[in-house]
């Protein structure tokens, strides 16, 4: 075990070293990459301008070159690309062996790689490369990071804790800046340190830089150990808003620091400016947020560029705020928070995924680069080392942070529903890592500040100290102190299960009590939102959409109708670690069980955590999965005491049926299969004057397409038609369903006749019309395949169009609970491995059990089925269908009941 780990480590590190050497070799001549990148704005003179003139040929004097190298032309983007690649490769490297990133935060590793690269560059060059000296950071690297954080801000906990978050972000940052600044000024008065020339303004400026926390590493740790939500969101929100505060403060102070004299008026002006900067940012954020939401209202026909608007508008908010010297971070945060809700309802599911992915990608990339450059800069910058100042900075940064958290918590605790206890406060204080913002701000310091280099050195030391020492030690400390977690492992399986059930229950009870929606302002806003904002901003304005709607439908449907041998379990995947021993459980099995339980139980409020993952993309398939699961469990719960006992029917359930003829040719007296039997025996419920095989319909809804034999089709289709009215009430999108019957359906006339079953299987597909809001029920004859294997191929092929087809312009696709959630179903139903076992099983079963009598009754009327009137009336109904191929369900003379048709 250890060997393999170390092997892997070795390999990884070798790989990394090779990579680093290779890439830094490519980069060594490009030390001025960033100054060049910034060259457009800062007009930094290119260091290698001689090279430029050498390479570029003179066209008049030289013959046409056959082969030329024009490096200067591509230099800037080329080097940027290489830098990004290098950083990304480093990231890949860390994640190859997972345990590294558990114990050492990724930011530490990135900085380390940066240090190595910086060392190489330093050794090769002897002079430092220009790093991040300009607006590059603020114009290009910061916006993605902030957008990422704010777009994936867990809304619910954030607004629950918004007071605390702002309290810590605004007051806490001011507190830190003032405290650190003043005490450092005090330290500067000490004669022995020789720092007399640093005045108060400069100290304050430096303190404002140093008080920006950026606890990426801490958040990753908190996520990993699933710390309590309150602490998490406060750390998360604080780092976001505190950036805004710091930058605003920095701007003011950097102005003040250059002033020769500061008067009292200036202090008040500074305060006023602080407020104006914040509120102005807020204003532009709202403005562009709503603009983005409003724009996406009209992008239904330009889906390709839909995600673009999100980025452009948020960037625009950022830039415009910057234009007026307002808080641009505030603007982009507000913009993202504002538009997210509306945009995600407007855009298609696919665009939504794209937006999230790109936001996440850009944010992660920027962050990676910054930490990487931090490492590089540490080596290659000119440092000015002053022990006293740096050590005192470290000390004050820590002490004031701790003091601030402690004092501010005492003030805010009485107002909090869940007060922070001491351990939380410790987590909050200790989690105050410094990071990207400090680093960038300090490099932005104007050159005329006397101790610029000292400030840079001190800042880098503070960052390195906090990121390395605190970042690495916070996990063991928090684990050791047993800071409140959201959940934890337990002793017996019983306890584990019961506790989890209880947690779900309490979460549910909280929802019923309306824990979140109780706030007065929230209610007010919700009303305003429903009445005004949604109408303006959202194209398809229906109050409750998506999941709730689907859930309600399913709930209603299931509450009203008794369901039959429904799919017992979707998790029919063949297990790799089957726990076969049923009665005596060895210890390893117990361990396995515990592992299964702890890994696979739905985590309470998991969405919150998932959405904010720094390392992974959000994934909301779980919600859909829950819905589908619940749908199924509801069915079960309605059939009290009639759970499918046979392990067989539990594990393998297939709705596609092979052509009967082949089956018969192989095992002559067979009945089709137990699945078709299930399908037909599915509760045929009398409703709206007709007989309905609910299971078939439900499956159709869930799976969108199923393969049926002719007889099943015969039964199903008319019932679907009969039920269309119910359908259209339950599922809005079937409002004008038109059923186009393929020509081959004519042969269904004699559905009951023995001639039919040799005909074909039918694929029934429920898919939305492209133009109007409607759904086509498409029937498609499958050519009678000659062997089961062919059918298998068909079935597996079927899965792909399943997803493509759901490009629904009208509705968000997940209303059908499809896409991601559909996949497991599709696999469960049509997955290759199961099919094999299923086929084998079916053969054996059909030979064993159904030899007598099963003969030539393909719809396999089992007991109880034949008595149903459906079969007798089926033919008539089918005739009716054929006469009117485009039957409209709203036709008042539509077949109300089989009797009427006859």
């Amino acid at each position: 075990m250890d060997d393999s780990i170390s092997c892997k480590c070795n390999w990884t590190s070798k790989y990394l070293v090779c990579l680093v050497i290779f890439l830094s070799g490519a980069l060594w001549s490009s030390r001025d990459v960033l100054s060049n990148a910034a060259g457009a704005t800062t007009k930094a003179p290119p260091v290698n301008s001689p090279a430029w003139t050498q390479v570029s040929p003179k066209p008049q004097t030289q013959p046409l070159p056959v082969f030329t190298i024009n490096y200067p032309r591509i230099q800037v983007p080329f080097e940027i690309t290489l830098w990004i690649l290098l950083a990304s490769f480093a990231k890949i490297g860390f994640n190859m062996y997972h345990k590294i990133t558990i114990w050492i935060p990724e930011s530490c590793l990135l900085i380390s790689v940066g240090l190595v690269v910086g060392g190489i560059m330093y050794a090769v060059h002897g002079m430092p490369p220009a790093v991040l000296t300009s607006n590059v950071f603020f114009l290009y690297m910061l916006p993605p990071i902030v957008l990422d954080s704010s777009y994936f801000m867990p809304t619910r906990p954030f607004f629950e804790n918004v007071g605390t978050v702002l309290w810590f972000a605004v007051v806490g940052t001011l507190w830190n800046s003032l405290g650190i600044g003043v005490s450092l000024y005090g330290v500067c008065q000490i004669e022995a340190l020789g720092l007399k020339d640093i005045n108060l303004q400069e100290n304050l400026l430096f303190a404002s830089i140093i008080s920006a926390v950026d606890p990426v590493a801490v958040l990753a740790v908190f996520e990993d150990i699933s710390i309590n939500e309150q602490l998490y969101i406060v750390v998360f929100g604080e780092c976001l808003f505190n950036d805004a505060v710091t930058v605003a403060l920095y701007n003011i102070l950097s102005f003040v620091a250059t002033m020769p004299e500061v008067e009292t008026v200036d202090v008040f002006l500074g305060m006023a400016r602080f407020v104006v900067v914040g509120l102005g940012g807020l204003f532009f954020g709202f403005l562009f947020g709503f603009a983005a939401a409003f724009t996406t209202r009209f992008t239904a026909h330009v889906r390709e560029i839909e995600p673009f608007f999100v980025f452009m508008f948020s960037y625009l908010a950022y830039l415009v705020a910057e234009l007026f010297s307002l808080s641009s971070i505030m603007a982009i945060v507000t913009c993202a928070l504002t538009m997210k809700y509306y945009v995600e309802e407007n855009v298609a599911q696919r665009s939504c995924t794209t937006i999230r992915h790109v936001v996440k990608m850009l944010g992660t990339m920027s962050e990676t680069l910054i930490f990487f450059f931090l490492g590089v800069a540490t080596i290659t910058t000119d440092h000015e080392w002053n022990w006293g100042y740096i050590l005192f900075t470290l000390l004050f940064a820590f002490v004031w942070r701790a003091l601030g958290v402690f004092v501010l918590t005492q003030i805010i605790n009485p107002f909090r529903t869940i007060p922070f206890n001491f351990k939380d406060q410790f987590g909050l204080a200790y989690g105050g890592l410094r990071g990207a913002i400090c680093f960038a701000l300090v490099f932005l310091l104007p050159q005329n500040i006397t101790c610029r280099n000292l400030f840079i050195t001190a800042t880098i030391v503070v960052i390195l100290f906090t990121v390395f020492i605190q970042g690495i030690s916070i996990r063991p400390l928090v684990e050791c102190m047993k800071v409140r977690r959201t959940n934890r492992k337990l002793g017996t399986i019983n306890v584990e299960i019961h506790k989890r059930l209880m947690e779900h229950t309490i979460a549910g009870i909280e929802d019923i009590c309306g824990q979140w929606s109780h706030y007065y302002w929230k209610d007010k806003f919700k009303k305003f939102n429903d009445r005004v904002l949604r109408k303006i901003l959202i194209r398809d304005n229906r109050a409750e959409s998506s999941i709730v709607a689907l859930y309600k439908k399913l709930e209603l449907q299931n509450a009203l109708e008794l369901l039959g041998p429904a799919p017992s379990d979707l998790s029919a995947a063949p297990s790799l670690m089957d726990l076969q021993t049923k009665r005596n459980f060895p210890a390893s099995d117990l361990r396995n069980m515990h592992e299964l339980l702890s890994k696979n139980m739905y985590k309470i409020r998991q969405r919150t955590v998932e959405y904010t993952k720094k390392s992974a993309l959000p994934n909301d398939s779980k919600v859909r999965e829950i819905l589908i699961r619940r749908h199924i469990s509801i069915r079960h719960s309605f059939r009290v005491g009639s759970f499918p006992r046979t392990g067989v029917s539990k594990r393998h359930r297939f709705l596609s049926l092979p052509p009967r003829k082949n089956m018969e040719s192989r095992s002559p007296p067979s009945r089709p299969s137990y699945t078709s039997e299930n399908l037909l025996r599915a509760p045929i419920i009398f409703r709206h004057g007709t007989w309905i095989p609910v299971a078939t319909l439900d499956l159709l809804i869930l799976c969108s397409s199923i393969v049926l034999s002719a007889a099943e089709l015969n039964n199903t289709i008319k019932q679907i038609i009969f039920r269309s009215r119910l359908f259209s009430t339950l599922f809005g999108f079937v409002r004008s369903a038109s059923y186009t019957l393929p020509p081959g359906l004519a042969s269904l006339d004699n559905a009951e006749g023995p001639g039919l079953e040799d005909k074909q299987s039918w694929k029934m597909t429920l898919h939305p019309c492209s133009g109007s809001r409607g759904t086509d029920l498409e029937l498609e004859p499958l050519s009678a395949t000659s062997s089961v294997s062919q059918l298998q191929r068909f079935s597996s092929r079927q899965e792909r169009p399943l997803q493509n087809r759901y490009h629904q312009p009208e509705r968000r696709e997940h209303e059908l609970g499809q896409q991601t959630s559909r996949e497991p179903i599709a696999e469960g139903l049509w997955g290759q491995p199961q099919r094999d076992s299923w086929t084998a099983h079916r053969y054996s079963r059909s030979r064993d059990e159904h030899r007598p009598g099963g003969g030539n009754l393909p719809p396999s009327a089992p007991t109880g089925w034949a008595q149903e009137p459906l079969i007798q009336k089926g033919g008539g109904s089918q005739n009716h269908l054929n006469r009117r191929p485009h039957w409209r369900p709203h036709n008042p003379h539509g077949p109300q009941s089989p009797g009427q048709v006859d």
Partner: protein
């Protein structure tokens, strides 16, 4: 606080309700507002559909069971009194309330809390958690990667752990013993007591 009084005056049998559930008038008022918000169309009672409109509940794996817990057998409605009474299960234990032998079991006692939890499993109300009932719960709470066989063995194991009389089901007594300390120390912020912490503030 005139509005408070007017809200409270709308609730019939307020005194009894307070005494029965142990909620303060402020809680009751708050719950009444919530009740009214849930009650679409001012029917004066809640139907399962009303609960269904709670968005978060829709994604709760056992949401339907929770909703079901509010409705006594065969009933389709729940009025405010029953609503509050159900919620009272989630009040924290009263540590300092003098326990009089003649007084009825308070709703928020350990035993009734446990019974409430038990009934979430025991959907057919036969006083036992059968293997199938347990399987159902597991199925909803576990993710799809778990195979049916694994589920079954987990259920078997769970029953084995708890089953004392060997009937292959968990009776309430057995359930209580197994959970001797489960509900006393749930470390997460989501504890029953939290409910009231919230309620107080609301």
């Amino acid at each position: 606080m005139g509005s408070s009084n007017s809200t409270l005056s709308k609730i019939p049998n307020l005194g009894r309700l307070i005494e029965e559930t142990g909620f303060t008038p402020a809680h009751i008022k708050r719950l009444y507002k919530r009740f009214q918000a849930l009650d679409k169309g001012n029917k004066g009672y809640l139907s399962p559909q009303d609960f269904g409109s709670v968005k978060e509940l829709a994604t709760n794996p056992i949401g339907d069971r929770i909703i079901g817990a509010f409705f006594s057998q065969g009933q389709e409605t729940v009025d405010f009194h029953s609503f509050v009474r159900i919620l009272a299960h989630f009040r924290p234990l009263d540590k300092n309330r003098a326990k009089r032998p003649d007084s009825p079991e308070p709703i928020n006692s350990r035993i009734s809390k446990l019974r409430f939890a038990f009934q979430l499993y025991d959907q057919d109300n036969d006083g036992k958690i059968s293997r199938d009932e347990l399987l159902q719960v597991l199925r909803t709470m576990l993710e799809m990667q778990v195979t049916e066989e694994q589920l079954e063995s987990i259920a078997d194991r769970t029953i084995q752990e708890a089953d004392l009389d060997g009937d292959n089901a968990i009776s309430f007594d057995e359930f209580r013993k197994v959970n001797a300390d489960t509900f006393l120390r749930i470390p997460s912020p989501v504890t029953p007591s939290q409910i009231t912490v919230w309620l107080i503030v609301l």
